[in-house]
């Protein structure tokens, strides 16, 4: 059983999907959660699903980079220093190359990639982090390794997270901060449901057939995150964890 008692863990994208499930699973393991997201109503809904503890909500857009430090400072003042961070906030865009432009790349990269690095920058300051050790987990995607047509921005933003995590793993090791990436395949979240609506039935069947164990559930990913945030993984940093029901075996 993974024990996260007395750990304060900050999660972006906590109002839905993998982020929400991580909050639930980690709170059940004893953690106190700082839930971050744009939709206050849904954050409150997530909070209601958590095992009772002194959880904290930060209602913000993760791309409002100037607001990160003051929000973290306030949270730390209330619940103490941070032991873990999951960057789960992410947006998806399916659009052929000919419809892409710099603004769209910026939007995707700001949420999926740059926000992860900006939160890491602030959180890794001595005044905010548990100086005896901490763990950061970036929710990337198996598409960060494998291409998918019509998703140049999404794939590249998730790929950038992977290499960024390795650079940070090296840079933050002396602060005993571990940084790892999780690469899910298709998981039954709202984002994926929306994406399914944009794909022809044949394509969905093809994607499904390419997951030998079928599509995943958010809990599958959350359990892996719980391990990476726990002391059981204390010798693991800079690693990529594929969790995709066998999608990338071929």
């Amino acid at each position: 059983m993974i024990n996260l008692n007395n750990k304060n863990i900050l999660i972006t994208g906590a109002s839905s999907g993998i982020g929400r499930e991580c909050a639930i699973v980690l709170s059940n393991a004893g953690a106190r959660i700082i839930l971050i997201g744009r939709d206050l109503k849904r954050l409150k809904e997530t909070k209601l699903k958590l095992k009772e503890n002194k959880h904290h909500i930060i209602n913000m857009d993760v791309t409002n980079f100037d607001e990160i430090e003051s929000n973290i400072s306030d949270a730390v003042a209330i619940i103490g220093t941070i032991d873990g961070f999951i960057h789960s906030a992410g947006i998806e865009l399916t659009a052929p190359l000919r419809l892409m432009n710099s603004q769209k790349y910026n939007e995707i990269f700001s949420v999926n990639t740059i926000a992860a690095f900006e939160f890491s920058r602030i959180l890794s300051k001595k005044k905010y982090i548990n100086n005896s050790g901490a763990s950061f987990v970036f929710i990337s995607s198996v598409t960060g390794l494998l291409g998918v047509s019509g998703k140049v921005a999404y794939c590249s933003s998730k790929s950038a997270l992977l290499s960024g995590a390795k650079a940070l793993a090296l840079e933050l090791a002396n602060k005993k901060i571990r940084v790892n990436s999780v690469l899910p395949g298709m998981v039954n979240t709202e984002m994926v449901m929306n994406m399914k609506n944009e794909l022809p039935v044949d394509s969905i069947k093809e994607i499904s057939d390419n997951h030998p164990l079928g599509f995943g559930e958010p809990t599958d990913v959350a359990n892996l995150c719980a391990f990476l945030l726990s002391d059981l993984s204390k010798w693991i940093t800079g690693s990529d964890y594929i969790i995709d029901g066998g999608y990338s075996c071929k």
Binding site: T94, P96, L99, G150, N197, E198, V201
Partner: protein
């Protein structure tokens, strides 16, 4: 935008070179260019041009360019 221009723009955007022009008789699924990416590109094109969500399920019912125009609405195209 006139309907005739919309047809030209759509044909050009989808890079449909296998026929001279898109007309009522052109069945999308019979085009050389038709594949799953054709559907995806059409969905993205409609979203970009008209801020309309065309789902893959909707597309099942769209056989010709006229069906697509009906889905969008001539008024909406004309007002572009």
């Amino acid at each position: 935008m006139e309907i005739s221009n919309f047809k030209i723009d759509f044909k050009e955007f989808l890079e449909i070179d296998s026929i001279e022009e898109l007309n009522s008789e052109t069945i999308f699924r019979q085009l050389d260019e038709f594949d799953s990416f054709f559907v995806l590109t059409t969905i993205a094109f409609i979203d970009e041009m008209f801020s309309m969500k065309l789902t893959a399920e909707d597309f099942e019912k769209i056989i010709t360019i006229d069906d697509l125009i009906n889905f969008i609405g001539e008024e909406k195209i004309n007002s572009l």
